[in-house]
Each structure stands twice: as C-alpha cells, then as structure tokens.
Amino acid sequence: MQVKANDYPKESARLLREEPQVRESVTGATLNFDRNRRAAYAEVGAEAWRDWAERVKNHVLTHLDSYLEQAERALIANGVQVHWAEDAEQAQRIVAEVARAAGVKKVVKAKSMLSEELGINPMLSSMGIETLETDLGEYIIQLLDQPPSHIVGPAIHLGLEQIRALFHQRFGTPPDATPDALAGVARKLLREGFLQADMGISGGNFLVAETGTLALIENEGNIRLSTSVPRIHLALVGIEKLLPRFSDLAVFLSLTARAATGQRLGTFVSLLHGPRQASEPDGPEAVHVVFVDNGRSAVLADPEAWETLRCVRCGACLNACPVYRQTGGHAYGYVYSGPIGAVLAPGLVGLEETQPLPYASSLCGACYEVCPVKIPIPKLLLAWRQRAVEENLTPRLEKAAIQGYAWAMTQPWAYRLAAKALRLLPEKALDNTVVPVLKAWVEGRAGLKPSPKSFRELWEEGL
C-alpha cells in the first residue's frame, strides 16, 4: 500500500481546518469505546490479565520459529492448506493463485487490516474479481473508496449525515433514512454477496499452535458468513498472531473484546479448524492459511521495537489517544494509525517514510495504560525519535536549536544572559515573531509574557 505518513503534519492540520466533522465523529466514538473499556477492565481487575497476556505473547515471540512450525503441523492435520508470504508481493501472488486455480469470480472480505496492508483488494480487482467488503463500516468506506480510519471501527470518522447522503446518492434511500433502514439496504446487497461468492477472505485475531485453531472476533456475523458460506476460505495471518495453547483463548478472547469495545466477548467468535468434514452438512470445501511476514521478522530482530509484535489489534490505544481523537486515522497515512501505528509503521516500512508519526504524540501515556498486552508505546515513540535524530531525519534548524539550547543550559552565565535578554525584548516581541517556534506558539495562543522578574532575581533580592 502507498504510505503517505510524511504528510501527517500537513494532513492533520488540513483535516482540523477543513473537515471539523471528522473530529466530532472520532471524538464521540473513541470516548465511548474508552468509557466502555474502562468499565470492562474494572469488572475483572484487568491488571493481572494484562501482565499474564504480556508474558504469554513474549513467550510466543521468543519461540516464534518453533510455534510457527507447530501451528503449520496442526493446520495441515486439520486439512488446511498452509502458505508462507515474505512480503506483500508474495501474499498477493498466493491469493491470486488460489483464486485462479479455483475459478473464483466473486470474493467476500471479512474485515482484515492485514489485507489492507498487503493491498489485496486492488490486486483482486486487477484480476477482474469482484470484491465485496462485508463489515458494514468497511462496506461504507469501500463505497467511498477510502481506507479504514480505525483498526476496529473503520468508518468512525463518518457521521450519520454523510452516510445518509452516500446511501441516498447510491441507492436512492430517503435523505433522512434511519440507521436501521440504511443497514437493511446494505444487508440485502451483502446477503447476495455471501450467497454468490466463491471465496471468503478473512484475517485472524489468533492462531493457536497447539490445535491449529483460527480465532476471529466480530459483532455483525459477516465473518462467520464469509468463512462458512463460500466454498473457499482464505485467512491472512500475521506471523505474530500465534498463541501456544487452546486454553489461552479464554483470556485472550475476552481481554481483546474488553480492550476493544468494552464487551465481555465479541458478539460472534469463530474458532475454525479447517474445511467441512465429511459428516458436516455444509461449510467451505477448502481452507487456506497464509502466514505473512511483511517486515515482522525484521521488527522481531529490533531490540526495542519487537515488543510491538505483541499487538492484538484491539484499537484501545487509538481510543485512549487524545492526538488520534483530533483527526482520526487517515491523517497518519498508513494502514495502522494512532499510537500503535506510530510505533509499528517505522518498523514495518522504514523510518524515513514514516518519520512524523513517532512525533504525533504528546507522550501522555494513555496508550500504555490501556494496552491489553502492555506494549510500552511511549518508550518506543522515544526510541524512534532518537533514531530519527541519529539518522539525521529531523529538521536541521531544530537540531541546531536543541544543540544551542543544551549548551546554554550547561553554562549558568549563558542561561542568565538569555533570561536578561528575554526581558529586554520589546513588549509584543513574543507575539508577532518570525522565529518559527514562537510563531507556531502564538498562532492560537496569547503571546508568552515573561514574569517581570525571574524567580532567581526575586530569590537574590531576598524572599
């Protein structure tokens, strides 16, 4: 996929200026998610769960090669065909080959962020395969030709009015149609899709190495349908999604749901073990699992960033993040947005292409507080910033200013001189300034006024 993360500063400002409704919608949705999460965490005293989940994931990641092999064996024993993709190109080729071999003409998609990361939809289109997103939010943004703006709620940046207008224009629904009526229109169309599709493509929330169980969490039922009705099911699974034991699902399924939406469990949880068995009345004839690396093994090799691979893609950090809340996900210019996107993106696609993202944070720490697997996001943001400095990716002027500042701050006399100079500036000098830093300050805030006398002067005069 195209990464436009370097436009974050401009794009976030533009969104705030030109599309204030996005901030409204995203703020409403995320505050709501976060409130529900807080209650759901409190109910079980999530602290112990989070510690435990972090340890399980660390164990899996530090034994990832053997767990992947175990998972492959279990999957094959269940009758699943297993594929391995090193990058997006290989993943696309695998999906294309499966589709071609089976004469697939129509595909239903069951919400997969990984498929966005890999650019699966455009590839299918280019093959002439009709691809339908079936998660209601995904379907809406597919109509608008937009990427998801949130890991769990792909369309939270849209308000009801916009969706009404879209459906009015596309399907001729009344301009004041109720959400129920709009969902009814989508249901009819998508129901046809489920019944006609040759292949369903899903992601995977978890894959249990012990039993080869693919676990999927949802609220709508579209994932159950996409993985049950078409004759082929293909799941794209990031190599970091493994869990060791079937029993681990008990905590991980509930913890993820609590973190994501504040539910005790997603309305529908699918635990899939392969194609239809001989005695079963229905189900897919063939099931494929594609293990996807696409930069993950490189992240695993990173002494700091490897911890991002614990991520269960619940979106809790996005919901808690006051920075994300202002713009929603599109400003980030990458499939994973918000705090987790800001620390994942540099690892998966490179710092040079995503340099502004680690700076898209006030370091408030709310993300770490809510993360179900305790990814130290603030620490990692700082780590990426350090690397940006080391790799000379920060503005030259900024670097010079910080160096000058650090020098002055280790020379008490220079510090004093600067303080004096500050007070000798003409009134208003700090209001209408050409110094970029101060300019940015006064463009929405009253000018800084130094105290008439510095504290140190007052101290020396005798307090």
Binding site: D65, E161, A183, I239, F246, L265, L272, P281, D282
Partner: protein
Amino acid sequence: MKERILSRIHRALEPRLKAELPAPLTPTQVSPDEALKLFRERLSGNGGEVVRLAGLEEAKSWLAEFVRAFSGVAIGSTLPDPLKPPLPALPPEEAPLGVSWALGAVAETGSVIVGSAEGRRHQLLPPTHLAFVPQHRVFGTLAEALTELKGQLPSAIALHSGPSKSADIGQVMVRGVHGPGRLIAAIIAWEG
C-alpha cells in the same frame, strides 16, 4: 519462502532472552446454580433472550407456542427429533427461523456455543436463531467451556453472545446486520 522466514526469525531470536510460558490463568469458579442465573443475566444484557424449560414436555409445549409466529424453519442436522418444530422445512436463506442443538453455553460471557457438526447456515442466515442448550452444558466460564470442547473440535465452533449488531452507521446501534437479529437460548433440563 517458509524457510527464509523461519531462518530470519531464528536469527532475530539469537540475542533475545527467552521468555517462559506462564501457567494458564485460573478463572474464578462459578457454581452450576450461579451459572444459570448469570447466563440469563449476561445474555439478556447483550440483547439475547433466555428461556428455561424444566424438561422435554415443557419444551414441546413452549415450542408449539413459539413457532406460531413463523412460517417455516431451517434446522441443524443434530437437533433431537422431539425438538423439531412443527413447521415446513425451508432452505436457510429463506427460513425466518433457524434452530440449533447447541454444544453448550458460557455464563460469564452470556454465550451460546454452536458447532459445525449440525451445519452452519441455519445458525447465520435466518433472522431469528433459536438454540436449545442442554442444562448440564451451561459452563460457568469460557475457560471451562474450552477445556470441555477441546476433546472434539469440529471444523467450526462459534460463540454467539447476542443478536448481530453494528454501530458503524454514525455510532447508532443497529441489530441484525448480517446474522440473526434475534437470539433465543432455550435451556432445557434434558440430555437429548
């Protein structure tokens, strides 16, 4: 491809300290009586419905009454004969009602557990889903349920914890988006 991925992972892990696998978290215990009460509370809270049936006779008369609102039915292939609704059979995509013989239920999450051995479409396509749950299969916790299920894993197991829902249209909750908009769990004191 596989070998290259695995060798990259192997190299990545060489300098990394290995983390131990912690013992499974032990869930809080829920007694069978508590479980029934909690299940009703939790599934109702999620927007589902719960009926308790003291035995087969009561189930039959309840069912006769219940199906009067429906014109046809799609049933799971393992549904015991006495629980088959007196309705014309319809394909799942046309039936207004789907009936399951559940593998069990989970009290703490308010979930009905259904499996693919009885088929899947009737659990998903009709707008109303009725699942009979044998009373002795109402587990207190998800952990207990998973332990019980692990012995025999069909191609799909699903936990349904209420009606299909979405808030993707302007954050307004809509029911019955793709799956059933109505879920009824009928707990039956009978082992099938």
